[in-house]
C-alpha cells in the first residue's frame, strides 16, 4: 500500500478519525460494567440499612462496639471528667479543629458515637488508652482524645461520626 502524503484533509482522514472515535467510545462503554462490578453489590448495600442501638445498658465510662456497614462503631458513655477534658481543649490548637459540641448531639453530651477506624490507615484504635485517654491506634501510634479528635500521630482527621440520631433518650438509630 502506498501512502500519499498531502497537506489537504481527505475523506480518508475523516474516515480514520471517525472510525477511531467510534472505537474509543465502544471501548470506554465496555469499561463501565468491568469497573462498576467491583463496587459494593446490591446485597452489600441492602445489608447497610440503619440499625437501632439501645443505650440503657451502657454504664457510665463504658464503651461498646457495634457493627454498621462492616465498620465498628464506638458508643462511649462518657464520664463527667471525660466530657470536661473534651470541652476545655483550645480548639484552635487541634490538628483537625472541631469543638466537642460538634462531635455530640445537642443535649446528649455523655454520648460520643464515632466510627472506630483510625483515619490514618484503617486500624481499629484501642479504647481508653493513649496519652489523651481517648483512643490509641496501635498500628502507627495515633492518639485520639475523649471526643475522638486526633491529637497526636500520623492520622490526619478526627474519628468520623456516623450518621445517627436519637430516637428516644436511650435509643439511637445509626444510618
Amino acid at each position: 500500500m502506498t501512502t500519499v502524503s498531502s497537506a489537504e484533509h481527505t475523506r480518508r482522514d475523516f474516515l480514520y478519525i471517525a472510525t477511531g472515535a467510534v472505537g474509543a467510545v465502544g471501548a470506554a462503554a465496555a469499561l463501565v460494567p468491568l469497573i462498576a462490578q467491583m463496587n459494593p453489590d446490591a446485597s452489600t448495600v441492602a445489608a447497610g440499612a440503619p440499625i437501632e442501638v439501645d443505650l440503657a445498658p451502657i454504664a457510665e465510662g463504658q464503651i461498646v462496639k457495634v457493627f454498621w456497614r462492616s465498620k465498628p462503631i464506638f458508643i462511649s458513655h462518657r464520664s463527667k471528667k471525660e466530657i470536661e477534658e473534651a470541652q476545655k481543649v483550645n480548639v484552635g490548637t487541634l490538628p483537625d479543629p472541631e469543638p466537642d459540641s460538634a462531635r455530640v448531639k445537642q443535649g446528649h453530651d455523655p454520648w460520643l458515637v464515632v466510627i472506630g477506624i483510625c483515619t490514618h490507615l484503617g486500624c481499629i484504635p484501642l479504647a481508653h488508652q493513649g496519652e489523651y485517654n481517648g483512643f490509641f491506634c496501635p498500628c502507627h501510634g495515633s492518639a485520639y482524645d475523649t471526643s475522638g479528635r486526633i491529637r497526636k500521630g500520623p492520622a490526619p482527621k478526627n474519628l468520623p461520626l456516623p450518621p445517627y440520631q436519637f430516637v428516644s433518650d436511650t435509643k439511637i438509630r445509626i444510618g
Partner: protein
C-alpha cells in the same frame, strides 16, 4: 545480540518442523549459542534463579488453588486443611510461602547487582524498566497471596494497604470502597484478590519474556561494565552459563529447602495463625519482611498523604535510575566513590527494613527519617553529582584484557 544460529537439525521431522516454526533455532540461538561475556560472576546467576522460582511459585500455587476456598468463612480453614489433611499439603504450602520470600530475596540480590555494575545504563534502560515493572507486579502478587490465608495479619495487611489509596485527595474514599467491593475488607475483597493472585504470576511471566528479549537484544552487562568487543570476550551460553546458573540454582535450592524443612514459619508471623477478626487489630502489625523498608519510609513521614507519596516514590524512583546516574562508567569496580555510596545505600535499605519491624515511636522514628533522607538523596543528589565530580579509575580495553590481566597478577 542473538547468537549466530548454526542450528541444523539432523532429524528429518525436526527439519520439516523447523521450516514451519523455527522454534528450535530460536531456543538454540538464545540459550545455546548465545554469546555471554566470559567474566560473568555468580551474581549473574540470579536471573536464572528467579525464572526458576517463578516456575516453583506457579506450580505450587496451581496445586494449592485446587484445595483452597476463597470465602471468608472457609479460607482460613481450607489453609489449615491443606496443612493437615491434604497429601503433602504442608510441603506444597511451605514451599509456596517460603518460595515467595526466597523469590524476593533473589530479586533484591538481582537488583543490587544491577545497580552495583550499572546494568541499567544505556543501552539497557528498557531492560531495567521492565525489571522494575516485574518487581511491582511481584509486590502486588505477594501482598494479595498473603491476604488469601485470611489470618489476622492477612486481614489487617489488606486493610492498611488498601487504605493507602484513601490518602488520594477527593477521590480516595470512593476508590477504596471500589477496591473492597464493600464498606470494609470482606468477602468480595478476598474473592477478587484470589482472582488477581492467580492472574498476576502469568502477567509476570509475560513481562519476564519481554525482559529476556530485551536482554538478548542489548546483551548482558558484565563485571567490567564494558561491552564485548570480539569473540575473545565471550563464551557460548551453553555449556558455560548453563552450568554456572545450574550450579548456583542448586545452592539456592539448599537455602530454600533449609527454610522449608527446618524453619518454615521463621519469616511468617504468629498472629497469622489467628483467624481474621474485623473487630480487633493486632497490637503490632508489620508487613512481610520484603516490604519492611518501604513500610519504614511510610511511617517516617508524619503526614498521611506525603507518607504514601514517599512510599510509592521510593519504588518508582528506580525506574528513573538510568537518567539519574550521570556517570559514563558503568561498573562500580572503576568508581571508587560510587562504590562507597552504594554500600552505604545497601546498609540504609537493610536498616530501613529493620526499622520497619520496630514500633513507630521514639528513636525508631527519628532513625527512619534519617535513613529515608539518605535513601532518596542517593538517587537525586549523589548519583547525578557523582557523574560530574567523581574521578573514575581507568577502564580496561576489553573484557579479555581485564580477565587476563587479573590472571597474570595472580
Amino acid at each position: 545480540m542473538s547468537g549466530h544460529s548454526t542450528y541444523q537439525p539432523q532429524n528429518k521431522f525436526l527439519q520439516w518442523f523447523e521450516k514451519r516454526l523455527p522454534i528450535g533455532g530460536l531456543i538454540h540461538s538464545s540459550f545455546v549459542a548465545y554469546p555471554t561475556p566470559r567474566n560473568l560472576n555468580y551474581w549473574w546467576t540470579f536471573g536464572g534463579i528467579l525464572s526458576f522460582m517463578l516456575g516453583v511459585q506457579i506450580i505450587t500455587g496451581i496445586v494449592l488453588a485446587m484445595h483452597y476456598t476463597p470465602h471468608v468463612d472457609f479460607a482460613f480453614k481450607s489453609v489449615e486443611a491443606i496443612m493437615r489433611d491434604v497429601n503433602y499439603g504442608w510441603l506444597l504450602r511451605y514451599l509456596h510461602a517460603n518460595g515467595a520470600s526466597m523469590f524476593f530475596f533473589a530479586v533484591y540480590i538481582h537488583m543490587f547487582r544491577g545497580i552495583y555494575y550499572g546494568s541499567y545504563k544505556e543501552p539497557r534502560e528498557v531492560l531495567w524498566i521492565l525489571g522494575v515493572i516485574i518487581y511491582l507486579l511481584m509486590m502486588a502478587t505477594g501482598f494479595m497471596g498473603y491476604v488469601l490465608v485470611w489470618g489476622q495479619m492477612s486481614f489487617w495487611a489488606a486493610t492498611v494497604i488498601t487504605n493507602l489509596f484513601s490518602a488520594i485527595p477527593g477521590i480516595g474514599d470512593p476508590i477504596v470502597t471500589w477496591l473492597w467491593g464493600g464498606y470494609a475488607v470482606g468477602n468480595p475483597t478476598l474473592n477478587r484478590f484470589y482472582s488477581l493472585h492467580y492472574l498476576l504470576p502469568f502477567a509476570i511471566a509475560g513481562v519476564v519474556i519481554l525482559h529476556v528479549w530485551a536482554l538478548h537484544v542489548v546483551g548482558q552487562n558484565n563485571p567490567t561494565g564494558i561491552e564485548p568487543k570480539s569473540d575473545k570476550d565471550t563464551v557460548p551460553f551453553t555449556p558455560y552459563a548453563t552450568v554456572k546458573d545450574g550450579f548456583f540454582m542448586v545452592v539456592f535450592m539448599i537455602l530454600l529447602a533449609w527454610f522449608v524443612f527446618y524453619l518454615p514459619n521463621f519469616m511468617g508471623h504468629a498472629d497469622n495463625y489467628i483467624p481474621a477478626n474485623p473487630a480487633v487489630t493486632p497490637a503490632h502489625i508489620v508487613p512481610e519482611w520484603y516490604y519492611l523498608p518501604f513500610y519504614a519510609i511510610l511511617r517516617a513521614i508524619p503526614d498521611k498523604l506525603m507518607g504514601v507519596v514517599a512510599l510509592f516514590a521510593s519504588i518508582l524512583i528506580l525506574a528513573f535510575l538510568p537518567w539519574l546516574d550521570t556517570s559514563r562508567v558503568r561498573s562500580a569496580r572503576y568508581r571508587p566513590l560510587f562504590k562507597q555510596f552504594f554500600w552505604l545505600w545497601v546498609v540504609v535499605c537493610i536498616g530501613l527494613g529493620w526499622l520497619g519491624a520496630k514500633p513507630a515511636e521514639g528513636i525508631y522514628v527519628i532513625l527512619s527519617r534519617i535513613l529515608t533522607v539518605y535513601y532518596f538523596a542517593f538517587f537525586i543528589v549523589v548519583l547525578p553529582l557523582l557523574g560530574i565530580f567523581e574521578k573514575t579509575k581507568p577502564v580496561p580495553n576489553s573484557i579479555s584484557d581485564a580477565v587476563l590481566d587479573g590472571k597474570a597478577k595472580a
